[in-house]
Amino acid sequence: MYSMFFIDEILLRSLGIVLGPFDLIYILEIIEEYSRGLYIQEQLKELRNKIKENRLYYELGESTLKEYSTRNDNLNKKLKKFEKTRKINFPGRINLLG
């Protein structure tokens, strides 16, 4: 005769058992997701500012139309990429019990 044990975070939580290390991993994961979100937000803000700055210099006559357009296209491409990342950046795990 033998017994099988399924030690799983969800199983243990459903039984009311909380193991410190598991919780720590969970908290670290949340912190990581949160900081990744903040990083993307910051990048988006910075890109938007660069787009505005580029436009400002063009309006002041400090850059040519060609320079402005090339830079503007590049920045917009980057912005779209980051926005896409933000949209699909959902947490890989859903916590149902805790």
Partner: protein
């Protein structure tokens, strides 16, 4: 079987029709009669009004979609607002506001009628003017204390000619001032003269003076979860 195919075709057709029935919302103006501004809207659509008592929503038809914040789209939105403002006081709507149905728009306006009237009073006969000041590109060293004092003086003298002002984000290292002013239409010339005078007095600073704009920074309609919301530009 044939009837099932017909039904599903009808559903697809209905869905497509529904998708094309969106309304792009530009502004609210005080107007009691219908008005057509021509084919100047987003995607070259006709811009017209939908009335409710003595206010009108300025709109154009559009497929239901998300409008990208591209320069071309923003310019188009701005151009419509400028055209409207040539004749009317306008409370602008934030860029990209697409409403699914005329009925929904009418319901939203009906619900926020009194607030809209108040807002129209607030911006009546007034426009937004923007002043940006930035260090000239060849200037590398400057007295920070002196510069701070100069900016304070500049702001004070501009505020004298305006009714309200609001500070915008300093999105560039060279940008020293990014201010929007709510100015009475009769006072635009006096304000412009003041800007010119300031520009003359501060040769190390470049000024970018823009407008007249719809008073976005002071009042702006947004489509929120609770219906029409009023806010200021961030």
């Amino acid at each position: 079987m044939v009837s099932m195919i017909r039904t599903s075709k009808n559903i697809v057709k209905q869905k497509r029709e529904r998708k094309d029935k969106g309304i792009y919302f530009y502004a609210v103006v005080p107007l009691s009669e219908e008005r057509n501004f021509g084919e100047i809207g987003m995607n070259g659509a006709e811009v017209y009004t939908i009335l409710h008592r003595n206010i009108a929503s300025v709109v154009s038809n559009t497929p239901i979609k998300e409008f990208e914040l591209t320069e071309e789209n923003v310019m188009r939105h701005q151009a419509v607002l400028r055209r409207i403002m040539e004749e009317h006081t306008a409370v602008p709507v934030e860029f990209g506001a697409v409403i699914h149905d005329v009925k929904i728009l009418k319901r939203l306006i009906r619900r926020s009628y009194n607030t809209m009237r108040e807002c129209l009073k607030l911006v009546d006969n007034r426009v937004e003017l923007g002043v940006k000041a930035l260090l000239k590109s060849d200037i590398t060293t400057f007295d920070k204390k002196n510069l701070k004092f100069s900016l304070k003086t500049i702001l004070e003298s501009l505020k004298k000619e305006a009714e309200q002002s609001i500070s915008g984000e300093l999105f560039s290292d060279r940008l020293l001032l990014n201010e929007s002013f709510l100015v009475k239409k009769d006072n635009i010339n006096a304000f412009s003269e003041e800007v010119a005078k300031i520009a003359e007095n501060y040769p190390n600073i470049r000024f970018l003076y823009s407008g007249p704009w719809a008073p976005y920074s002071f009042i702006c309609i947004k489509i929120g979860k609770e219906g029409l919301e009023l806010g200021k530009k961030k």
